[in-house]
Amino acid sequence: MNPTFPLIIIGVAVLFINGIKFLSSPKTARKGNLVAAAGMLIAFIFLLKTDGSSVWSHGWSINYTLIVIATIIGLVIGATGAYSVKMTAMPQMVAMFNGLGGGAAALVASLEFIRGSHSDVGITAFIAGSMLFATLIGSLSFSGSAIAYLKLEGKFEKPMTFTGQNILNGLILLVILGLCVFLTVNASSTNATAAFIIMFSLALFFGVAMVMPIGGADMPVVISLLNSYGLAVAADGFAINNLAMVVAGTLVGSSGTLLTLLMCKAMNRPVTNVLFGAFGSSGSAAAAAGGVAGTVKPIQADEVALLLAYAQRVVVVPGYGMAVAQAQHSVRELSDELGKRGVEVQFAIHPVAGRMPGHMNVLLAEANVPYDQLIEMEAINPSMDRVDVCLVIGANDVVNPAAREDKSSPIYGMPIIDADHCKTVIVMKRSMAAGFAGIENHLFYKDNTRMLFGDAKASLNALVTAVKAS
């Protein structure tokens, strides 16, 4: 083996780590992505076989022609997806890439496992275990991502549940794990291939069974969780002795794990509750029936325009409803118009607003809202009582004060944006229908709240015209 190769792989790892490091500020983030891509290119050039020889030094064969064709097909699929996807559909895109990577990891591990189990030398339990782990995680994230993709597209968005579901899923998982243990010990037995195929199929099925009961709005957690399948890549790296793969897979695994925990914290629910609780189907009906004292006070667009035009500080709280109404460009227009009049406009972003972590920021950035106007929940909450007008657009549960005041509410304890602390709150809403979780929003009944009914985009356009005129 060429002695400089290990050094190059260390360089690749450093590039990956620095790439993520640059993501800590929007100023350097784009550079960070390119740095990571450069690391990938170097890892590609210096790709080594398990025996330490370069993969490119073995002479051309039909297999290499296949590699070129397959890479080009993948490039075309990836590039088409990347440049045509709408920003609202970004969660689907990430789910798709996740699934593809998971599928690849599972296939690589399977091929290596079957080859190893048929070879005369056999494979060690450590290598067999890594390959089985990669197959299991990779295939379940492949099928799980496919279901997440469909749910995000609006197909069977509702959680699908039946009695005994968790028990059945638990049993399937037990069988899978049992087969894995069997295969780790008996990798070279005659039944190994058959057992392996059963394990692979069950893992694919388990991915479906695991995601089906989870509701559409819980997808941020699911996507983050499936992202942590990067660990499958790391396990593949163990199996084929590729350090770059171990480091890359582990970094991704950490990011997925960390984001999963952050999302759950922002919803004040343990991971197990998201995965096995089928939120939004049971339990919430009772909460909705409770009812809230007080009346809802509607308001007209021209009145809102006056409030906004003569305010000092305005905070916009966007939710997924804004994206659905395609209102982000109108909201930026309104913000620009107010800015011209000397009104300070900020956007308060809840961590779970949108359909994946950070989704709302991307949507607003696309609409040319400068990123220094996007403020995180923890940063803006302490100063909310000094805000003149808070404009809630398509957000619901993330501004519901029941999370602070009502111990019986299913969302009690969830951190929220304190919209109700502002002098006046304007809630833009299509109708009085309850939010995703079916929970009554106490905010709508507060004395300082006014409801602006109608389509968010149409209302915002009316506001822009009215503010210009005033």
Partner: protein
Amino acid sequence: MDTNILFIFILAVYVGFEVISKVPSMLHTPLMSGTNAIHGIILFGGILVLADAATLLAQVLGFVAVVFGSANVFGGFMVTDRMLQMFKKKK
């Protein structure tokens, strides 16, 4: 068993948590798609198995793995770049 590789794995876990926890929530979507692209490194795993594929089955599955991995790595970096160039400061 090679303990070096486990040692590197453990270190990578700590480094990973350290750098990723510094990424602001504003950039969590690009973080996710960017790390997504990084795990597209599985493409190389696909290339390695396809390069040594001896049976038709191995060729077919290896081919699929390379297509998947390639879509993952190229698409991931491209879509992340597309998102990040939209983040602009106030003029």
